[in-house]
């Protein structure tokens, strides 16, 4: 009933704990014969090292932390998926925390992870995060840190992102090429970089193609969700009667808009063409199916962990490591809404 320990094995075999430990880890100063003996006994007793002791001794937890704004979200859950899979392959487990888009909570989660002594941290910032002293602290403690998707330029660490600006540019350009002349934009909150970049891409595309930018065509969707899309679409219908295209910052907002138009008998894409963003998989299931920009969540998660892994390894071996900013490709997906 008692736990099997190195001591147990050592006693059974009449040798020292040291030798048992070394035998199991294939140290060169243990004879083949004893190694075989030890391994056999370990197997027989189903010995599993006590991670608590190993952690204490090696100062490593083989665990990483992940902080995201919200779990219930197609894009982020895809990222989680990529991270967990990759982490497991390398023998790491993942502790997931949610910031609920709150700066205060995000700070607390960082503290939690640090006090749990995770070997590395991955984070996508909350929208409301402007102060980044909590992240600076992580750097000071020399805990490897990788940011993804919602990043801050103010902190020096590896970043895995898409080129929001270019992707938004392409999306808007696609609307223009479809013949749209008055294109509205449902943008996100003012703060997060994604929201800014997508807006800038939209604006640039207009200007590059001889359409003048009109700020009254830009609507803010604070939570970039379905209801925001509905609200914005209704407001748009009140304000303008000449809009023939919409570039929405997320698929959800776009789907909200489509619902409004469907209900009012406004034809999509004949009267108004609509572009979403993310390629959330329902976007192909609605009527009309939604044109959008594919945002590679799984891939982003995978790359994020891989980079973190490199940095954790470098740290363990006291080597320098290059901090990288990786931009992943997005893909324009043309469907029936444009």
């Amino acid at each position: 009933m008692k736990e099997v320990t190195l001591k147990q094995i050592a006693e059974n075999l009449g040798i020292s704990i040291t030798t048992v430990s070394k035998a199991l880890k294939d140290y060169p100063d243990v004879s083949k014969k004893t190694k075989a003996l030890v391994k056999k006994e370990a197997k027989k007793l189903n010995y599993k090292p006590n991670v608590f002791a190993v952690n204490l001794r090696t100062r490593e937890s083989r665990t990483v932390g992940l902080i995201i704004p919200e779990v219930v979200h197609h894009f982020f859950s895809s990222v989680i998926n990529g991270i967990i899979e990759q982490a497991e392959k390398k023998g790491y487990l993942v502790i997931i925390l949610q910031s609920n888009e709150s700066y205060k909570l995000e700070k607390k989660q960082i503290d939690l992870l640090v006090s749990k002594r995770v070997d590395g941290i991955m984070i996508s910032l909350a929208n409301k995060t402007v102060d980044i002293s909590h992240l600076k602290r992580v750097k000071e403690l020399e805990v490897p840190l990788v940011m993804f998707d919602k990043i801050s330029k103010l902190i020096d660490c590896s970043k895995i992102v898409i080129n929001d600006r270019a992707a938004a540019y392409e999306a808007t350009k696609h609307l223009i090429e479809r013949g749209c002349k008055r294109i509205a934009h449902f943008r996100g909150a003012l703060l997060p970089q994604n929201s800014i970049d997508r807006f800038l891409g939209y604006k640039k595309a207009l200007e590059d193609h001889g359409l003048k930018y009109d700020s009254s065509l830009v609507y803010i969707c604070e939570n970039v969700d379905y209801n925001d899309g509905i609200r914005a679409a209704n407001q748009l219908l009140k304000d303008h009667d000449d809009v023939d295209g919409i570039f929405a910052i997320t698929d959800l907002a776009a789907i909200g808009a489509i619902a409004v138009f469907n209900e009012k008998g406004i034809r999509v894409p004949d009267d108004v063409a609509i572009m979403g963003f993310s390629n959330w998989f329902v976007s192909s299931a609605i009527t009309p199916s939604l044109s959008t920009v594919d945002q590679p969540g799984y891939e982003m998660g995978k790359r994020t962990f891989k980079q973190l892994f490199k940095e954790m390894k470098a740290r363990r071996e006291n080597e320098e490591v290059e901090l990288k900013t990786i931009e992943l490709d997005t893909k324009l997906i043309k469907r029936n809404s444009t």
Copy 2:
């Protein structure tokens, strides 16, 4: 630059490590004066106990494990959300692993969690899991275990579920009350209990209301997803021309069917009424909006952790604890598809 330890504080104050430890934990055999001194010094140095040492000494990790079939799934991500929130409130962190609906992987994940010495495990079984020896082992190791949603009746532990059978009964009954006479069922794979129970509820409702059960109206959707719904709907159109209602095992399958009908000009609900299951939030965003059964994911997560917490506490204090099976309420949501 060095880590702050009890020893550090003790040396600074010229007292023993023991006293420092006891002072910080408010032991009664330390004078108020020294307690104050110690706490002040600890605060000054920003002392944080080394969890590795604490874990080793207390044999607890204050970490729990969660195994689910897939993360990228609205229902499960809602459960995750409930669990994480509740766990954090009680000072626990959550390690999340995915079984990808594979028994082999599920077994491996259990081993991983056990070897990480989590204080408790929550699991929703993979569809293909029939052998449950890996769960039996968890029980033997006396690691508290709570199952939710996809459970096995063969293992003796607490379970948090909905009454799938009753919910499916209500859903089918609703179709019948709407006037449907020939009701098809898109069911899930043969194995998981949910799938069986929902099927049984469907069948019972038919029989109780004078409709005869026809096995040719039951289609299997192996992955219960959008494409399965499309496939099943197409097959149904080939096989039958008199079906006027469908009860689908998930919203996704129902949405797939709706897409097919929309395309073929078959009117929903006039020609065919459709019920989904889960109340995935997109179900209100499609056209027509989908009638469904609300499955309380967040609540389920919350209750699951709460039960686990009780059992972990009982274990720590060597008390007996009652294993509970909790059934959560579902709610019929009537929308435009019926």
